[in-house]
Symmetry: C2
DNA sequence: AGTTAGCACTCTCACGACGAGAGTGTCAAG
DNA sequence: CTTGACACTCTCGTCGTGAGAGTGCTAACT
């Protein structure tokens, strides 16, 4: 019945918009359903509760508000939050403290995994929500260099540096034995020969090379090829990394007062595939993304919202960073937080990219 | 009033012991307080409920059982569990499936961190409790080799292999620029010069070398020293790694039916220092360790137990592996699980140690 | 027209009473 | 020493009740 309404923001007059905004702000602050009386008392409107009730009834008809039960106040629906975010919200400026905290954490981090880990934990702490950082597949990842370090005669650590500054390392267990000097040579060769290619491309070319005439005779080349293939094969399975931090932060939120809600939530967070799927669809979108309640499978069940943003250079987006929390959250504070963290990460990564 | 009793297991006659064992087994299975009637009905005893009540009253006086309230059955106390574990428990043989699962997971893992991560997750899955694996400080860690890989001109990955096969790698950001060949030379030099020493020892010696006459003139040596110090300094802060896996497994246990217990538990798991402290004290003990309820700060508050065991060669214990769960757990099944995982880890690590 | 006071209505929630059920302790008889 | 019997106690679910909160509606007011 409300489906034919376009979300242009035009179907609400200025007063209705003010009321909706006030209700959402107040409800986010208190967690309680908002009554006409408390709204009237807050002083923002020179109207009696009865008048406000009329406005609220209209907003309910339009699907922006709902009543938990007849004699309770109103609560925003996901549709209400959506309207708020699209048309009513005024993002807070990011506090200097927060900005400095983010900058500090990001600056201190070295390796990509550490950066992402710190990012998820800092956003979780600052937002008091669950922090998520997602780094998608490395298959399209182009390499700058590849080096091999002798761990023991048959165990080799392979260090791959991407053109975007990301460093990946894995240990492979070979059946052959290697010398230090051999590995140095192999590293130089592979770096020279394959830099700029994707892992997948490298693997395919190496496999083609095995059939090459020369490889049959040159023992050194043969060793290089098998080691290279093993190294790339071993990295490829790392299809994505998902950092979820601060799940305990939701423990104190009133929407999780009962044990079942908690249980369901933790179990949902366990299975990360769904989350990855959602974040993946966002990966093609630019700018801040907000997903509310029923708008996706994941957020629907638990009345969650996701505020997330792409990071990494726009030419090669690297992943998503954001927060997950109950639908009732301070979007006006979350939005700039997530946005800034995304920017900071992007900047950091571009710096590393320069730094060649 | 019971404190003067020695825990020799002598103060209970054979019948009392049987009753205590039966009560614990039944309570662990059901989670309910055990009544004299249900005990009589189970057929193990040819006694009436009234007689069993007498025995149970005695066990309660001795502090092995307790009643949640007057008209409830009996529940084992931590003292009761302790007696059970020390004198009554018959450990189940480890099922073949479990043994194979553990062997499989451990065999597949490569790097130490991956091994420990898998270990904590496999033990969590098999036990349906929270899995913990703890690796203590690396400061006493002696090195076999040290290599440096060029990430970018000023960022160097440092790969340290311990004599126990453990591989640690960190990226350091230097102010100087390095060439590939330089790094290879530095790696060879440091490996030759310092292998067998502890990280701490290396650092001290490097610092002493800065004051050395030669270092002032030999630019290469100077670069080596500063890089070496930075590498070691960067690794040293990693004082311990604690893997806690499967916290969600306790969600379904009846002792966490109410939200507060859940909340408290998750918050307790958040602060890992306490846990590390406890595991650290166990590090000097050989064999399986079981800590019950009030026996430690950590387990006391939440009615938890810890079943843990040292792993790593006995000459150089590497860390602790174990599970955390409610006091009411199947000790007879947990004990061999943890024990076997500890053995498997030790074996794996010794293999890697050989493999030089 | 829009606004407001008043009022009846509905729903939740905290409180207390109550009875069924479960388990115990005890005592006297076997 | 064992056991049947019985009174006692405590928990827990159910039901009823009344206070409180908030609404919708209507009629009067501006």
């Amino acid at each position: 019945m409300v489906s034919k309404l376009e979300m242009t923001g035009d179907e609400l007059d200025s007063r209705a918009r003010d009321v909706l905004r006030a209700i959402i702000l107040q409800h986010v602050a208190t967690g309680e359903p908002i009554s006409s009386r408390s709204l009237s008392k807050c002083g923002q409107f020179q109207l009696s509760p009865a008048s406000l009730r009329n406005v609220m009834a209209d907003l309910e008809d339009l699907g922006y508000l709902a009543q938990p039960h007849t004699s309770a106040g109103r609560v925003p629906t996901d549709r209400g939050y959506r309207f708020f975010i699209d048309h009513l919200m005024k993002s807070h400026a990011l506090s200097r403290r927060d900005r400095e905290t983010i900058d500090g954490e990001v600056a201190n981090a070295g390796e990509i995994e550490q950066i992402l880990h710190l990012a998820s934990s800092v956003i979780s702490k600052l937002s008091d929500q669950i922090g998520v950082v997602f780094m998608p597949t490395l298959l399209q990842f182009t390499i700058r260099s590849m080096d091999f370090v002798l761990i023991s005669e048959t165990r080799i650590m392979c260090v791959i540096v991407g053109t975007n500054g990301v460093v990946v390392n894995r240990i492979v267990d070979t059946r052959q034995t290697f010398q230090r000097e051999e590995l140095e040579k192999i590293g130089r060769y592979i770096t020279a020969e394959f830099s700029g290619m994707t892992l997948d491309g490298i693997r395919r070319r190496l496999i083609r090379m095995t059939e090459d005439e020369r490889a049959l005779h040159d023992q050194m080349l043969q060793k290089t090829i098998t080691l290279g293939i093993e190294a790339v094969n071993d990295v490829a399975p790392v299809e994505h990394e998902l950092f979820v931090e601060g799940a305990a932060s939701i423990l104190t939120k009133p929407e999780f007062a009962d044990a079942n809600a908690l249980r369901r939530t933790f179990l949902a967070l366990q299975e990360k595939e769904k989350l990855i799927e959602i974040l993946n669809t966002f990966l093609s979108e630019d700018g801040l993304q907000i997903l509310i309640g029923s708008e996706s499978d994941f957020t629907q069940v638990h009345n969650f919202s996701i505020v997330a943003r792409r990071y990494g250079s726009s030419s090669a987006p690297l992943g998503m960073v954001g927060i997950i929390g109950p639908m009732r959250m301070e979007y006006a504070r979350m939005a700039p937080l997530v946005d800034y963290l995304g920017l900071a990460l992007t900047r950091k990564i571009e710096e590393q990219e320069q730094d060649r």
